[in-house]
């Protein structure tokens, strides 16, 4: 039952977007997020929508798939919109008791909704088109400058990728222990919160013990394969920044310039 959880929802493919270097993709996504907050008017959002749609189409990830990312956040989006709708001061259009609807409030609420939606679309497109390994690798390279300041970047990236590697194994194990305890009459589903939390103890204790044992064995296995930290380490898939990456950067830059000029329009 726990196996159904998907993590780092990667959508394998070989599109232009998939082949971009992970570090570049991370940087461009950050730029995209900044652009979202720079937009001042509806022309800008029109441009943003066109740009986002274009990127989704060339990524070959089905639109339906990307939109699914918004669903869990739907209530959050509605809530922020309503909050902004009534909490913004300005010219009042309609009033009911202490609830005031202002012109500024309406446009602000719509902006806020659009911002969150595009934020989610942009970041989910990043995780859909980048494998977890490439993503951790990209983060490691992005953090390299901080490595010189003493941040253990290689170790952080290694921890992240090992965590990703062991999530399915540990989920499977949790499932197994859960079934074993249920077979002995354990009940994880009923009772109040405290009772249910208590029922988790016989699940967590064996899980932790086994995780420590695994960690121990993994450390020895890594030593046997000459692991000695990030120094002088090479990679099977050496990441190279190529023409596609440059094209993507130029494209995003042009897009940013377009947004800035449109901002002035209204």
């Amino acid at each position: 039952m726990l196996k159904d959880i998907t993590l780092g929802q990667y959508f394998p493919g070989n599109s232009f977007i998939h082949r971009l270097d992970a570090m570049i993709k991370l940087i461009l996504s950050a730029v995209y997020l900044v652009i979202i907050f720079l937009i001042k008017n509806f022309y800008g959002y029109g441009l943003l929508a066109a740009f986002t749609l274009f990127t989704i189409i060339i990524s070959t990830v089905p639109l339906k798939f990307v939109l699914k990312g918004i669903k869990p956040l739907l209530w959050f989006i509605i809530f922020t919109a309503i909050l902004n709708l009534f909490m913004t001061g300005g010219t009042v259009i309609w009033q009911f008791g202490f609830l005031k609807l202002t012109k500024e409030g309406i446009s602000f609420a719509v902006f806020m909704m659009l911002r969150i939606v595009f934020l989610v679309l942009g970041t989910s497109l990043l995780t859909y088109t980048t494998s977890p390994i490439a993503l951790t690798d990209g983060i490691e390279r992005l953090l390299t400058p901080f490595g010189k300041m003493g941040l253990p970047t290689h170790e952080l990236a290694m921890m992240m990728s090992i965590a990703l590697r062991f999530i399915p194994t540990l989920l499977e194990e949790t499932d197994k222990i859960m079934k074993a305890q249920m077979a002995r009459g354990a009940d994880f589903q009923s009772g109040n919160l405290i009772k249910r939390a208590k029922a988790l103890i016989p699940l967590l204790v064996p899980l932790f013990i086994s995780a420590f044992r695994r960690a121990d064995e993994l450390a020895i296995a890594m030593e046997c394969r000459c692991y000695r930290g990030g120094k002088n380490r090479t990679r099977l898939n050496e990441s190279k920044i190529g023409y596609p990456d440059i094209i993507a950067c130029v494209f995003v830059l042009l897009f940013a310039l377009a947004i800035i000029s449109v901002n002035k329009a209204g």
Binding site: S131, P132, I133, S161, I162, L164, R165, P168, T169, E172, R213, R214, E217, L218, I220, A221, M222, E223, C224, R225, C226, Y227, R228, N232, R233, T234, R235, L236, N237, E238
Partner: protein, 274 residues
Amino acid sequence: MIKTKNLEFKYNVDLDPVIKNININIKKGEFVAVLGHNGSGKSTLAKHFNAILLPSGGAVYIRGMDTRNENLLYEIRREIGMVFQNPDNQIVATIVEEDVAFALENLGVPSQEIRKTVDWALETVGMSEYKKHAPHLLSGGQKQRIAIAGILAMKPECIVLDEPTAMLDPIGRGEVINTLKRLNKSEEITIILITHNMDEAVFAHRVLVMNDGEIIKEGTPADVFSDVEGMKSVGLDVPQVTELMYELRKEGIDVPQDVLTIEQAYEVLSEVLC
């Protein structure tokens, strides 16, 4: 290739040694099986061959290199690969080929060369078609072959396997044992196989039997297993057909004692019965 001299090891200075008086000499290209009941010190001994553990007394030499010499550590580890019981706990990466590449990445090999070696290693264990797969979706036998490929990529002279089949079903077990036999034959890699399964020891050139931290017996499988009573006295079994022959002899039927495989047993028995 691997030589030990009066090797002794204690996990704790106050305790009795876990292994002692170990003097072995393993030659290049050999297939050696190590047997012994639980806690007899097999894993402890194996961990001395690639300097995971260092001797408390005596010494271990890998092609003349003393394992206590820290400068030779990675050279020794590259030469003597090691595979463990649980394949889940030795796979590091989320994609098969990335995992096989792990050792070479650590050794700083250039990426084109890694690519070539990884493809070769996967081909050799017969897992080429799975190179882009996620390891956790493979069967136990396949995972263990990936673990072997990960070691093979270092082009070691010798692979030490600590109960590599203990967690596998008979099909997975067969896959792993056949891979080992092939590596030993065609790649001339020295194999040291620690096992509880006597039918796997039958393929070895030489069998070492451990008991309470010492090697108490050493010889060809036929030599070692024909002493059924000796094996039982240290808590070990013999292959099923050998046991059958032993029982038949006890009943006064004249059959040879050094029968190890079903094929041999079939021949012997058809002679007796006809």
